[in-house]
Symmetry: C2
Subunit: 195 residues, 2 copies
DNA sequence: GTCTATATCGAGATAGAC
DNA sequence: GTCTATCTCGATATAGAC
């Protein structure tokens, strides 16, 4: 199925040709490292071993590529949000979601920084409706459907700590498993979750 | 004086003409909003009401402007680091430093995101020796001079949480005082500091 | 689906007058 | 200290052949 329970169109269900997927994969890696503004179509084309014109044949504008890449990555969280919403207990729902978010963030360290901080992605997340809806749904679960200031600050601290810690050069030499464990311990303590 | 106890040259002591200061102030605001790559010299010139050539007369390259802006902002933390190092008790030293860092981060919300996440600033912080030395000194105090994995993860979580929370759109409508209090409560709990 | 070639624009940067 | 004018390069983007 391509729609969620709330009627929203699932992210990542846009049909893509193999050539389009190759563009998105190449663009993802470059954008994660250099940011959107720092990544040119020439760099993407070079990474693929083709010319700029070939890339333009797949996507009409650079914006479409950025949207495509963002959509592809956010899609990995769709299942986590769905699973969390299926839980009846809000605390357990948060636990389920947080575990998945931490896993995803650790597995994709470089991209998380860009997703959370690149000025162009930020603007995109605010202006592109499917992204807005998804983010809003995700943070809704994180806040446990209560709109207290404390809940919002906790959710923001959580996402900031994850995003910030994961890309801090201080932690470059810490392996994924250790980092994941430390982050889970931290988030569990911060957000008063069940073990 | 322009050197620290450890012999390092203090950041922010570079002599600047008034015209240079005007450039840095204009550049700071633009870079904070659009990132380094997203800020052109034309944008800086327009914001100042002069031409590009006038800007180039003050700084030979865009890189020098970026270095200048970064130096100017990091300089606001020099006093905090000095005060912290003057404390004999490591726990109290961290407390002093954290308080100042939180204050600075809250007061300069948009810039903190760029400082921590812009790819070009990141590279600069790693390559420009004065910046490397300062950052290293700052994190040294944060870690309390013990090199355990836990201390490093805590320091990284701290800086990530501050940076991430401060610019999260979720918290845009929370006033500075409330945000500062929430961050202090969080950091105190996270890093096992005295109240 | 990919190519060569090209158009157009804006970027960083410089020369020299005032 | 600022200006006009200009250079060069690389960016996004398009046209049309294979």
């Amino acid at each position: 199925m391509t729609t969620t329970d709330s009627g929203r169109r699932r992210l990542g269900t846009t049909p893509r040709t193999p050539a389009q997927k190759r563009v998105l994969v190449a663009a993802l890696e470059l954008i994660a490292e250099h940011g959107v503004s720092g990544t040119s179509l020439q760099m993407i084309a070079d990474a693929m071993g083709v010319t700029k014109a070939a890339v333009y044949h797949q996507f009409k504008t650079k914006d479409e590529i950025v949207v495509g890449v963002t959509e592809m990555e956010l899609a990995t969280l769709e299942d986590a949000v769905a699973a969390a919403k299926a839980e009846s207990d809000p605390a357990r729902a948060r636990k389920v979601l947080l575990t998945q978010v931490v896993d995803m963030a650790v597995a994709r360290r470089p991209w998380v920084r860009t997703l959370q901080n690149d000025p162009i992605i930020i603007r995109l997340l605010g202006e592109h409706e499917p992204f807005r809806d998804f983010i809003s749904e995700l943070f809704g679960v994180l806040q446990g459907d209560e709109d207290s200031t404390t809940a919002r600050v906790s959710a923001a601290l959580f996402s900031g700590a994850i995003g910030g810690a994961i890309i801090n050069p201080l932690l470059d030499d810490i392996d994924d498993a250790t980092l994941r464990a430390a982050l889970m311990q931290f988030t569990t303590r911060m957000m008063n979750l069940p073990d």
